[in-house]
């Protein structure tokens, strides 16, 4: 398994062989993971994939069945939560309803025996722009404000790591966007390691430096958001992170660094460096391409497509206009529901359902996956989440 660089610093979170089983059910399979100090790390996956369990094991709220948790050089596996230099922003916040905002934020400081908390609490409330609300009770605040209190309550303790468990799940879309930027700003400002659990792939990609995609208690792939998006290693990642068109193909030949594959009669070029599948001639491979990389030309204009591009012929089944772009579903021999997103710069009036079209894209945008996997992994999960 790939992990991020382990440059030995005090705030690294190091999970070694950590797993969690409940009876016969394995929530998290043995997992090695290093989160470097000061990074914004996201655990992304559908509900029940083990991401929250992993987070709770770092917090000490769940005891791992095997493995160890290190914070920097310190082994904290056996420490109860109240002895760990880690704080959590809980899903739905878990603010103390009987205490006002000031006392909620001061809670951690007071428990550590710090007497003069006033200045620190006021500064922290200013950071999250809630200075005016200090004497209100949590139920008097809006969802977004409560969320900021939860962040302030955790951050004021200067934890080595801040854990965020679906912190934005209860907010509406607009507020969620705003809070994503806000959290990112706070993280940059305080420089604390953030470990963020979410099922929202857009949220993970917007905020995190590194994303670990989890599925069925395992980390499927780990990397920078753009890297994960462009070079998915598994069908789950390809389908869960955005949308991918996956085509079943057969390896035909190799030409230099490129692999030539055949899919239902069409010849496609796949850069060898972007394929995680074994490329033996005659072997199966899944060829993928993102919908926004594809150009769509009416069949009459097929001649004007530049040479050297991958091309597949098909017929438009469905179109939906969504303002900035138009999404087409094209029926091709190789793939019955080929998705294409075209920016609405110059709309071709002939591209309506029933029209014959040619899809074409730069071969460099093609990626290859092992054909032994379930081609639809991660598709249904995303809808359920």
């Amino acid at each position: 398994m790939k992990t991020t660089d382990a440059t030995d610093r005090g705030g690294d979170v190091r999970l070694s062989g950590i797993s969690k089983t409940y009876g016969s059910f394995t929530a998290v399979h043995p997992l090695d993971l290093t989160v470097p100090q000061g990074s914004f790390f996201a655990l992304l996956g559908a509900s029940g994939c083990g991401k929250t369990t992993t987070l709770r094991m770092i917090a000490g709220l769940e005891e791992p069945s095997t493995g160890t948790v290190h914070l920097g050089e310190q082994d904290v596996t056996a420490l109860p939560p109240y002895k760990r230099p880690v704080n959590t922003v809980f899903q739905s916040y878990a603010l103390f309803p009987h205490l006002d905002i000031f006392e909620n934020v001061a809670f951690g400081l007071r428990r550590r025996g710090i007497k003069s908390v006033k200045k620190q609490v006021e500064e922290m409330l200013d950071l999250v722009q809630l200075g005016e609300q200090a004497r209100k009770k949590p139920h008097q605040l809006s969802g977004g404000q409560q969320q900021r209190v939860a962040v302030a309550r955790a951050l004021i303790n200067h934890p080595k790591v801040l854990l965020l468990d679906e912190p934005l799940g209860a907010l509406d879309l607009k507020l969620r966007r705003q809070m994503q930027l806000e959290l990112k700003r706070i993280q940059t400002e305080v420089g604390i390691t953030f470990v963020h659990v979410t099922h929202d792939q857009e949220e993970a990609m917007t905020m995190a430096d590194t994303v670990a995609v989890m599925n069925g208690g395992r980390v499927e792939q780990l990397g920078a958001p753009a890297d994960l998006y462009e070079n998915p290693q598994t069908t789950f990642v390809a389908n869960f992170l955005g949308t991918s068109n996956l085509i079943e193909a057969e390896v035909d030949a190799r030409s230099g660094d490129d692999i030539v594959v055949k899919a239902a009669g069409d010849k496609l070029i796949l850069p060898g460096g972007r394929s995680s599948a074994p490329a033996t001639t005659g072997g199966k491979v899944l060829v993928g391409v993102r919908p926004e990389k594809i150009g769509l030309a009416h069949a009459d204009e097929a001649g004007s497509i530049p040479e050297g591009r991958n091309r597949i012929a098909g017929k438009i089944v469905n179109t939906s206009f969504i303002g900035v772009s138009t999404q087409y579903v094209v029926d091709c021999a190789a793939c019955p529901e080929f998705e294409v997103y075209v920016q609405n710069i110059d709309r071709d009036p002939r591209l309506v359902p029933g029209a014959d079209v040619v899809l074409h894209w730069n071969p460099a945008h093609t990626f290859g996956l092992d054909a032994a996997q379930d081609i639809d992994a991660g598709v249904a999960e995303e809808e359920a989440a």
Binding site: L61, P81, Y82, F90, A94, P97, H98, F107, R111, N157
Partner: protein, 309 residues
Amino acid sequence: MSTLTEAPPPLAPAAPEKKPPRKRGRFTPYWLLLPGILWLVVFFALPMIYQASTSVQTGSLEEGYKVTWHFATYWDALSEYWPQFLRSVAYAASATVLCLLLGYPLAYLIAFRAGRWRNLIMILVIAPFFTSFLIRTLAWKTILADGGPVVGALNTLHVLDVTSWLGWTAGDRVLATPLAVVCGLTYNFLPFMILPLYTSLERIDGRLHEAAGDLYAKPVTTFRKVTFPLSMPGVVSGTLLTFIPATGDYVNASLLGSADTGMIGNVIQSQFLRVLDYPTAAALSFILMAAILAMVTVYIRKSGTEDLV
């Protein structure tokens, strides 16, 4: 364009027919309130007025009683029976404290630790109600009987020496002492403490405990700073449900106590049913009610749970 701006046909014709049913419905809420109001008038307001008037009457059984606005009855009753008043408050307060000490851990256990045993334990808490209050209190007479195993054990452990020195028991007897009465009260009112405590504890979000632990609170501190404050509504309603009926109780004192452990309930009962001095009995009842109201008001103010009542 003009066809698009045309308004849909109005739905007006149906409107006038709505009026009659609204008129008919205007008094419905009051009609629905009537049974409750009648009940309160007949079984609460009228007896109260009747008792109030009785308390200011003078006369005798033979000549009949007349309202003479004789308020001195109140003063006489209070000056004669103040020891019973004090004893009632002391016994009821002790029993309430004992109920809280016994009931809180049990309610906590049921709410947070019982798991699949929760319903069974709840049934066990309520089970005593399937037997008569009197029979259960009589059973305590047997439990605390002279020379019985409980008294024997307490004697061997020299507990009775301590309690006798404190004036709670007399010699090797437990029965007919203050301790017996307080034990009976505690036993009889314990479920009234446990149920509200359980309800308010059970409502506490488990994540608040996790959050407190996450914010460096040890389990004891979590209880002190989070769990207990959040269970205050249960503590207040539990103590009220125990203290108020225990103050006016006379069954425990008459079955488990002696002449020296009489509570105000015993005095009221005997004034009404044996001495047949109705004005004194009525005056005592009102004094008791006023005293309880005053104490409860102060208590609720102090505990900061006005929103409860």
